[in-house]
Amino acid sequence: MHHIMYSLVLILVVNFAISQTFLEGVVVEENAKGILAPLIGANVYWSGTVTGTTTDTVGIFKIPDDHNNHQLVISYIGYQSDTIQIEDHDKLTIVLKSTVDLNEVEVIFREKATKIDFRSSINKQIMGEKELFKAACCNLSESFETNPSIDVSFTDAVTGTRQIEMLGLAGIYTQLTQGNMPYVRGLASSLGLTYVPGAWVESIQVTKGIGPVINGYESMAGQINVELKKPEGEEKLLVNTYINQSGRSELNLHKTFKLNKNLSTSLLGHGAVRPLKTDGNNDGFMDVPQMQILNLTNRWKFDNQKGLMGQFGIKALLDDKVGGQMAFDKSLNRDSTNPYGVGINTKRVEGWYKTGYVFSEKRYKSMGIQLYALNHQQNSFFGLRNYEAKQETYYANFIYQSIIGNTNHQFKTGLSFLSDHYDEVFEVNYFRRLEQSSGAFFEYTYDYHEKFNLIAGMRVDYNNLFKWVITPRLHLRYAVSEKTVLRASVGRGQRTANIFAENMSLLASSRSFEITSSNDKSAYGLNPEKSWNGGISLSQDFRLNYKEGVLVVDFYRTEFIDQVIIDRDNDPQKVLFYNLSGRSYSNSFQTTIDYEIMHRFDLRLAYRWYDVQTDYLEGRLSKALVANHRGFVNLAYETKNKWFFDYTFNVIGPKRLPGTESNTIPYQLETNSPSFVTMNTQVSKSWTKKWRAYIGVENLTNFKQNNPILSSEQPFGRYFDSSLVWGPIFGRMIYLGASFTI
């Protein structure tokens, strides 16, 4: 884990898992008289990894080269552990010194479902497969049920889209990457999370606060990076199925092929359908739309065994959703005013190529290139309102990594280019935008043993619409003791709002869209969004009743310099878009306790508080539909014979509802939603590591928002609004599924 941060990009660019050469050496002890004797059974491993070996009967070891790591740790009970810098291939002789103090053992790492990277200066949680299993279904938007840092809620009561929120800010302020390349952005802002099937995911890294500069300037509140399963990984075949009581059925496939020692490939497939129409709350509208999704990926990985490695892949997606009133039939009533229907059809093709080269004589030096291209098309209608959009994106990033003097001072530098071309037709308006930005970045990492790290990054980009973008960012980590770590980060972020794609839920309403432009050549005449984000966090390991636990307390503040304000309060029949004048900020405080109550029985307790305020035309208001308080409990128990029990409890505080006081009486809402509780549970069992079956219940207490659609009886009337959703839109949902892995 030691170098995860420093080589974040390169790990992904180059994937060092398969190693070609070995490092050899001998471990000896020096006794009181200064005589050297071989040490048998000493542990030798690459720092922060599990790649390791032990010395043989004459003290000799042979360990696979790890290009990503040049710190070799040698440990032996009763001797001082030694960390040495590996600069070349010469055979090593390592002398360990005896120590009287047996307590000088390395920090013990616990393998947790979710772990916070202890040694990284970035407040980053790594959600592994175990954590992802807890949410059996189905895609990324549903993978965060057990993560208290991320709030997941429905955007509206028609499209069935779930959105995420970090630090009280909408998901658009969190940069979503896949393999550290751009992923969910632009037109995919609303639905993109559903395009990553959970069964394809190997791990998710969640960074709170500002991210590193290497991936561009768009991360403002956080970063979520998704790593898909790799062609060279251990899994040869996976078949995973899921079905729930609403008829939603999903099938996932993953198959890897090792063609030869240099080349491997994999196929990832995902299909999902929901053929049935369900209306649990009797408002005449389907709770969630009917859908059909087909999602395919082919990945390739090569490694010439001499330091040159790379991977490329292609992904294609077809998604068709039809929602609205129960009586709606797309083929018959597409343009009629009775019944009301919503259709969203998406076609998406992506390709990427990543390659990296590690200088074999100087393993700290490497370079990599990332290339990415995307074509995204969406055709949709919401009643009589049409929205059609196209996006073409090209991205290139070149990264060079080396050291200054020794490996305590590392740097990454490079150049990047991002081009987005949007064509949108909304009702009768046509919007076109070509936005290109080219930039250079430099990131310096200072590492003082395991006590103190610093990552200082700076990037300068030139954007054809918004001129120079300067992005400084800083991350610090200080280990007060072995058990206490303090982290701080501060930095700037910028993004361009795509007001229709990001607010698609508002299209399923009678609100008219009004844009107050301040200039004519930028995006919709609106300014780019700019913010500063700063935060501190404390992570404290503790031991209670002989069991280990971790307490994390963090505070983050985001202050917008520029923001595109989405104003639903001014008039319930309108949504206004205008540039921020005045202030807009978010404060977020969270405390989390992870504790092992018993062997194989884990508890996670969390509480978080948000204060999100924005100056609207009508004055300063707290952000609508954001709960200021949330409490969270997760219990996970695993038996010896592989039964897994998981239970999640959420209590969500009141949310401010957008103003409806100018509506006639029956269409006025309360000013705040009530607080409510949701519970999820899942039981699963695995057999011989190959088979796994699960059954679970979402929303155990069957709590639903009554009448999630305002004026649902008159969807073409003036008061219709499906975007005022504050709670669950469907009730108790039972699901089951199985997976087979070899």
Partner: protein, 115 residues
Amino acid sequence: MKFLILFILAGCLYFTSPANAQSKKVTVDTIHVHGICEMCKERIENAAYIKGVKNAKWDAQTSSLEVFYRTDKTSKEEICKSIANAGHDNDLIKATDEQYAKVHACCKYREQHQH
């Protein structure tokens, strides 16, 4: 605010209750146990959790098992015996060949440094 107070209360309640358990005689030992991977870790820890053991954590990097146990209920020998029985050589007891044969192919730590 209500929630905050509730949470702090719940937290306090939970974390104060097990304190009585600490009056019993509990000792900590570090035992060197041979093993390789995450599968070994699971096997070793499960084996170490015999009656009287409060906590057992094995670290793959250092091959050391840190174990908290009640001296009135069990002993280091008992724990080591249980671990050897699961197939893992340790400070005190070497697993028999039959016991060692039970561990999964990827966990064959005795052969590890020979290939």
